[in-house]
Every structure is written in C-alpha cells, then in structure tokens.
Symmetry: C2
DNA sequence: ATATGGATTAGAATAGTTCTAAACTTAGAA
DNA sequence: TTCTAAGTTTAGAACTATTCTAATCCATAT
C-alpha cells in the first residue's frame, strides 16, 4: 500500500505533517466523519492544527482524488477515504453510514430504465436499520 | 384538487395567510426552490413575512406530509411539493433539479441486489446534462 | 543554505438555520 | 358576535458549518 507521502507527491502536493495526520486518521476509518470530528481527533496528536487547515486539506485532497465528500446529511459534509465508486447506507436509528458496493446499482443500469435522461453519475443513499440496530 | 385550506384543516393546522401563500407558491413549482427563494418570492406579495415563518412553515408542512425536503445540495435544503415517492436528476451544468419517477429504481429492486441490508428507503440522485444543456 | 511559493494559522466574516420572547391571529366555546 | 386559549408570526439574536483574510511559516528546488 502506498504511503501518504507517496500519494501526496504523486499529486504535486507538499508533504506536510497536517495533511499526513488527516490522511492517517481517515485511512481505515469507515464511519464517514465530519470535518469537525476529523479536526477534534487530529488535534489530540497535533494540538496546533487549525480548523481551516482541515477544511483546506479535505478540499485539496478531494480535488486530488484522494478523498471523497459524501452528501448524506443536510447540515454537514461527511468525508470518505474510500474513493472507489460506491453507494451509501444510512442507519435510520443510529445514524451510522456504511459503504455499499457500486455494482448493486450502476449508472448503466439506471440509464437503461431512465429513458430520456443522460445519466453520467448516480448517487444512491439507502436507508434502513443496520445490523447492530435490528 | 384540494384547496390549501382543506389540506391544512385535514392536518389540524391553522389556516394562515402565510401558509397559504407558501403552499400556493410551491404548488406547481417544479424547480425545488431553497427556503430563501421561497421567502423572497412570497415576500413580494406579502411584504411582512419573516424568514423564520418560511422555515417554520416548511418544517410544519413537511411533518404533515404536504411537502418534502430534498437532499441534493450540501449547503441548502431544497423544497419539493411533489410528495409522492420519486428520485431526482441534477444537471451538472445548470444545476436544475428534476423529478424522476420512482419505479426506475425501487427499494424492492435495491433490496434484491443488496444482500445483507435491510433497505426501507432509497434516495437516488442522478447526475448528467439536462435536455436544455445538451 | 536560501529563496519562494504554497501551506498553516487564528480569528473575522458569511450563509443557512434555529431560537427567543413578545405581539398577533385563528378557531372554537360561550 | 365576543372572548379566550392555543397556536402562529415576527424581528432579530444566536448558533453552526464553512470560507475568507492576511500574517507567518515551512517544504521544496536550487
């Protein structure tokens, strides 16, 4: 697996301690944290980090394709380090957000059923009870 | 077609000029306006209406099932007076949001493909170019 | 080692939304 | 009709998420 440093360099981005810390926190984190959550967690190990830096980092890394911003909640952006195409499942009880494989429902499938639309991308949010909440 | 007054009464809600004005503006409006847009438009005919009233009205009518709040844009809520189940198409060029029939993709269909998930609801946002923008 | 352009910072500013408490209807009872 | 209680509206304050600003800092290329 590529190191953070390698990935940043590959995108012509400076390797900074802040970016690395944000990426390391997100890597392997599957619960789609908000920017504020990232900020608070990273701050523990990196007390001087600023909220603006976390916003900047998320935006920069998203543009570089290293992160994804997920639209599943109206008020705050949720961040996903899984950048492969996939959908989301939101538990109506505990609010947990899980990734769901893309092939459950591809743009192609939708295109076939959606006559007259020129679908390039499909975002699906499924809602129900997660395993824990049933 | 039911009058606004009848619908409000059926839901045990007081019939006020403000609620009626908001509903009348939204009725037949298919472009999913934001609260601010509703406020500005209704204000033209009703100069003393307050922004808080529009927020209250949207929330109240949504709870009563007379409106729907649509999650298609991170920063602001979009309001839809089409309360039947349906999906949305967002034009990546002009930002226009259109309703798409629900049967293109039902919760049932998704459930069949999504093993292990207990799907109660599916929200789909398709993205591409709308007719005008192609 | 040094220069320079990009990155980080704290805090101010902004946008959307919710809250507050007083004033004002609406709807139902008398 | 008139009265009343409960619900509604209002302006503006407050709050939350996010972006902006401008000064400082530091990663990288030389």
């Amino acid at each position: 697996m590529k190191t953070m440093s390698t990935m940043l360099k590959a995108n012509d981005l400076a390797v900074t301690a802040q970016r690395t810390a944000v990426m390391e926190f997100l890597h392997g984190n599957t619960d789609h944290p908000s920017v504020d959550t990232i900020y608070k967690r990273v701050k523990k190990r990196f007390p001087y980090i600023s909220r603006a830096t976390v916003y900047n980092t998320v935006k920069t890394l998203t543009r570089a394709g290293m992160l994804q911003e997920v639209l599943v909640q109206q008020d705050k952006t949720r961040v996903d380090s899984n950048v492969s195409r996939h959908h989301h499942f939101k538990c109506v009880r505990c609010g947990r957000i899980e990734d769901v494989p893309y092939d459950i429902l591809t743009a192609k499938h939708v295109s076939e059923h959606a006559r007259g639309y020129h679908v390039e991308e499909v975002r699906v949010v499924m809602e129900g009870r997660c395993k824990r909440c049933r």
